[in-house]
Structure formats: C-alpha cells, structure tokens
Symmetry: C2
Subunit: 408 residues, 2 copies
C-alpha cells in the first residue's frame, strides 16, 4: 500500500448552498455587473436557485441592484447586480521597520481610508502594537462614519511567522524589528474590529504579492514575483493567481540568498546575503551616506554628473546592489519560474537605474536555457502593496466564502 | 472593480456521482482495506450511496473484495474492500542522458515490470524514441502476461517542457541530450499503451519528486525538495503532499543557480551555474577522471588514503561540488522552504561525503534566521524515482478521477 494524500470531502446538499453562494458572489465580482439570467447561464444553476441565492446575498448587503444590463430575456434589460461597496469592508495593518500603516478597503477593492505613522519600530512589541491599535481605531472610526462595517483585519509583518497553532501564532524572527519569538495573539486581540474571529497575519512580502495580484501586476500577468525592499528585502510569489508561500509560509526570503560567497555578516546570522549589498541601510552605507537617512540623498547623488565623488560612490553602490539582485533573481527565476518580476518598496524608486541592468543580466544568465527571461517592472502600489494586500485578504475571504459573515 | 480569479464551478448532481466515486476510491487507497460501513462513516455518504458507488468501482475492477474487517455492525465483520491490484496499471518511461528506463506500476503502487537500456541519448530524438518504444512494448507484453492493462503512460525528460498547447507539447531545451525545440506529440503517439489519450510528460525532477512523494521521502515528510543528479542537476519540490512546478513547469532548475559569480560557461548558456561544479562530468573532470567514465572511479579514489594524488584531487573536487551545492541549497531553502532535502540520482551515491557537509553549511547559513534548517538525506529510490513517478502519475490520476476509465 502506498500513502495517499488526504481525500476531498464528499459533497452533500447543505454544503452545496454554501458553496454556491460563493460561486454566485464570485461571478459578480469577476464580471462587475450581471443580471440574474446572466448568472444562471454563467454558473449553470437554475434561475430559481440563482434568485434564492441572490436574495440571501442582497439581504446580507453583499450584493446590490445597480442599473440594468442588456442580458434580460426577449430583449428586456435585466436588473444588474453588483458587489455592495457600501457596507462590508476589510482592515489592513502593517508594521514596517520604519512606519506603521493602516488601510480600509471595500468589497470592490477600493481604498476608503489610509493612515500612516512614520518612525522606527525597532522597539518592544507592546509599544508598537499599542500605537498600531490607536491608528487602527482611528481608521475604524472613519470607516464607520462612511457607513462601512469592518468584518475582519489582516496584519503584515516584516519577518518569519509561525502559523502552526491557530491561537499561538508568533514571530519567529523579524531581524529588522529586533524581534524574535514574539507571541502575536495577545496583541492581535486588541486590534479592531474585535469580532472575536482570529485576525489574519502574514509576512509583508506575501501580502504585497496579494496586493499586486488584485490591484497591480496581477492585472497584467497571473504569475509574478514581487520583490519588496525597505530595510530588508523579501519576495512574494503569485502562481496562477494564487499566493505561493511554501509549506510553512517561510518561502520567498530573497534577501538571504547568498550573492557574495563568504561575504559580510548579515542580521540573519548568515554571510553574504543579498540584504548585505542591496538592503537600504547597506546601500546607503556603501554610498557613503547616513544608513538611517532614507533614500532621497542617494537619489540626489545619482542625479549629479560623473566625476563628482558623491555621485561616483552612489553609482558604485547601486552597481554592486544591482549585481547582487541579478544573482539572487537568477536563482529565483530558475527555482520559482515567475512570469514577471515586480520591484516594490524602496527598490521601486530605484527602478530607472535597476530595471535595465536586471533585465540585461537575466537575459544573459537565464535567457538561453528558457528561450526567454521574465520582464522586470516597478510596482504601481509602491510601499502600500502589503497593507492593501492585508485588507484585500479579508475582502477575498468574504467573496470566496460569504457564509462566514452571513446568518446560517 | 478589481480583477478576480476564476470562480469554482457550481455543483450539480451529475458531477456529484463522479466526484464521490473518486472520494470512495481515495478513501480505500488511503486506508488499505475498509468495509462499506467504514466508508459511509469516513465519507459522510449514506450506506446505500456507498454501496452503489462501490458496485460501480468493483465492476470497473478498481476495487476488489478482500478478506474481512472488524468494522461491521453489531460485531459482525464487514467485507473488506481494497484496491484491485490485478487489472489497472500505469506505464512510466524515462529518457535520461545516459539510459532509457520503463516501469509498470499497479493500482497499489507496486512495481510489476522494470526494464532499462544503458547508453548515451545524445542522439536525434527519432532514434531515441524508437528504442524507447521497443522497450515500452516489451514492458507492455510482460504486464499483459501478468493480467494487467495499461491505462496510460507518463514520460520523464531531463529538460524544460512547453505544455502550453495540449497537442503541441515540446522540449524547449534539454542541454544534456543536445535537444532544443523538439515537438513531442508525434513521438508520444507511438508509445504504448496507445489508448488515444494524451500521454503525460514532465521534467524528470518533477516526476522524481512524485516518486519520492509516494514511495520514498513523502512517507516521512509532506514537504521536501528532491535534488536529482546525473549529467545535469535538477530539483523537484513537494509542498503539502502536492508537486510545485511553477507557473509554466519550469521551476526547480537548481542546476542553474549561480554558485560561482562570473564562473565557467555552462551548457545552458549562463556562467558559474551549479552544474559547472557539481554535475557529474564537471565533478569527474575536476577530479582528473574521464568525464564520461561514470561514478565508480571517483568513489574508488575517495576511498584511498590521503596523500595519494588521485585521492587528493577527488576530495578537492568533491569539496568544491559540496560548497556549490550548499550555496544553491541555501537559495532553495530561503526561496522554497522545503522541510527536508533528498539527494537523488548520482548525488545519492555521494551521500556519505555530501550529507554532513551540506547539513553543516545549511545550519550556519539558514539556521539562525529560521530557528532550524532542513535535514539532508539520500533517496532510497536512487535513479528510479523519476520513472516510478511517471507511472504513479497515471495511477494517481485514476484514483483521483476514476470516471476517466469507467463507463459513463
């Protein structure tokens, strides 16, 4: 006897209604506006079943009648159904190395509230979560003033998370926050919307990938790698419109691929990692700039003419970072095979310098074997991809399984 | 409106029967022997539904009554049902750089026929496929003599495959066969069992991962990376008991991760790839041995005492290969996060030398961040993982969706 993966559950009638509520809602989400007759054609369900399901979804304020479509029978226009963007919303929160951010996103994926507080978070978790809770409460008040109800929240963290036990999630390591083995659930319970349901929490690169999937790169390609850069460097992978994060959620640690064998020590404990040449503090230090001084002085130096000592130092530092990124991305292309590479975070601001170098290096190193190499672009969402992804995760969960917020 | 992934199909009654046939068959596969009553409890289906589904599966010779279980009602033993290992079988074929192999596997995953022909396949595809067809026909005759019917076949190829069009699949590049842009379907149509159904074809590392999942490493860990080594080096990743092969099936090209920046040219067109230091010919050449002479002389040299020139050259070559493997595996652990690393193919034979070095290097480079680093083991299937995986793919498809070989 060979071992077999666990089998899918058998289907029965009760689960069919729950499943089909998600099918109908998903079809509306995909199409924007659609009539009951159009839904029956698209889903293969009978019109009476569709009407019953739509009635439940309208009552739950997930769908709303909106205008008319040309799809009705015998030339009569049908009543259009669309996602109700006036009630259900998701809250996204992000703890970055140098900022806190929160965002409220409605059922149609639009950002309705966005707040930020800039400052280092290399502090004890209690202090950071206290400030985050205050920021999230301010966002919740604004959302409620707009008639929205937060049905859940998601949190982005720049580190490795242990999700093994649902109520004992913890940060295994967040080197750029200085956190190790921090239990999260006591802090998460104090964040809005306090539904009593567990709050989603994930690595910032995974959530940035989800944000890109829904609002950015995902509109042009179903499979891509988002490289996020702030103090650290991470990567989130989307394959066939789904997030890939490995068996334990620890995949995509691009910043710790070795690009200088035997090189400088990294905050992770290893040597010669990509972060040691392309993380923002490393890059600034190599350019002779204040490692905590932000990106602006580096961009200024790059704008100066050649021969200027500061400009030459900046260019040399960026060259080294680009060479390191090219090596790490070569590994990522060969191991993960993304169709597109998106530079996010602070790396997006360096796009004009980095993109042509990375594309040339990838073409030389992977193009011959694969016949092609993935294009490199910069993120349109910039530093907000992760916080929006955290909020969209809540909205997506509702769209996929609306029963979770509906009466039984 | 945001873009949404495609929605799941709505459920209707016809598809429920088809789905539930797979649920019942999968439950038997998972448990070995089980009664109708046990199946009803495990699946949540009624006893009469289970009896009807079991009747169809017995008639199709997918299930067979076998002994009795202790699960019957009121203390009476129930009639045991098990997978029928006497009828349905899958054929696996492999084109390696230096051998052809075929295997027939029954519904319980047991190898019933295995044939091999050793010799270089760096020849025109028509000649290679002609020999493979003859070998596969010999295997089919032996299977038939044992009462087995081949319901499908799978083929393992050491290269990148384009699956985009179902009837125009091709080898994009197989550097170690010297093949590029080779259309496969005309050749596949000439291989047994000629059911008229498309034959499965995949990269050898992906199929080796499937073989390990069912018969090897998968019995101890649900998520692992198999490193396959012959002339080239590949990797197959299993996550949560499923194969991960990227958006286009091109993932896992571990052999082309750069481990010597700016290093020696590789057959792929890049420079400094892992294959240039750890592929078998590169390793033999670095040890001062015939690059086409196989592994035995290297193992002999490693067994000699230090101070012997041949032994020292062999040890230095293996040290360099181990250092390259450690760098590439560091990238793989950070990007893919496998729970276990399995050395297969020719690398398995070097396990006693490689395993301790790789484990020490990974502990130093990834252990601090992750709190742990994956163990490294050697494959128990050796060079047969891919050909068995190809055959098991056929069997798995039948177990997951038996309707494909049953009357409607």
């Amino acid at each position: 006897m060979t071992d077999r993966p666990a089998v899918a559950p058998a289907m029965r009638h009760r689960s069919m209604r729950d499943h089909n509520l998600g099918v109908v809602l998903g079809e509306v989400a995909r199409r924007g506006t659609v009539s009951r007759a159009g839904l029956a054609v698209a889903t293969g369900l009978t019109k009476s079943t569709v009407s019953s399901l739509v009635g439940e979804l309208v009552a739950a304020r997930l769908l709303v009648a909106e205008g008319r479509t040309g799809e009705g029978e015998r030339g009569r226009p049908g009543i259009g159904l669309a996602l109700d963007d006036g009630y259900v919303a998701g809250l996204g929160c992000e703890i970055g190395a140098r900022r806190l951010a929160v965002a409220v996103v409605d059922l149609r994926g639009r950002t309705r509230v966005r707040l930020e507080r800039v400052g280092s978070n290399r502090r004890p978790p209690a202090a950071v979560f206290g400030e985050l809770a205050a920021l999230a409460e301010a966002a919740e008040r604004r959302a409620e003033a707009a008639g929205l109800t937060l049905v859940g929240a998601g949190l982005a963290i720049p580190g490795l998370l242990d999700h093994a036990a649902a109520d004992r999630r913890c940060v295994v390591a967040a080197p750029n926050l200085g956190w190790r083995d921090v239990p999260l659930d006591p802090y998460l319970a104090d964040l809005p919307p306090r539904t009593g349901l567990p709050m989603g929490v994930d690595n910032e690169a995974n959530l940035a990938a989800l944000g890109e999937l829904r609002l950015g790169a995902g509109r042009v390609h179903p499979s891509f790698l988002v490289v996020t850069g702030e103090v650290g460097i991470g990567a989130g992978l989307v394959v066939g419109s789904g997030l890939y994060s490995g068996a334990d959620g620890f995949a995509g640690e691009l910043g710790h691929v070795v690009v200088v064998p035997g090189g400088a020590p990294c905050a992770c404990g290893g040597r010669g990692c990509l972060e040691t040449v392309a993380g923002l503090p490393a890059l600034l230090r190599a350019a002779g700039l204040d490692p905590d001084g932000g990106l602006a002085p580096l961009l200024d130096a790059l704008d100066r003419p050649g021969g200027d000592a500061a400009a030459d130092a900046a260019r040399a530092a960026v060259d080294e970072a680009a060479a390191g990124l090219a090596l790490a991305l070569t590994a990522a292309v060969h191991l993960l095979a993304p169709g597109l590479i998106v530079l996010g975070g602070t790396l997006a601001a360096l796009g004009p310098v980095l993109v042509p170098r990375l594309e040339a290096a990838l073409a030389a190193q992977v193009g011959a074997l694969r016949g092609t190499s993935p294009p490199v672009t910069t993120s349109a969402l910039g530093p907000d991809a992760a916080v929006l992804g955290a909020a969209l995760g809540v909205v997506d969960a509702v769209l996929a399984d609306p029963v979770r917020i509906m009466p039984a």
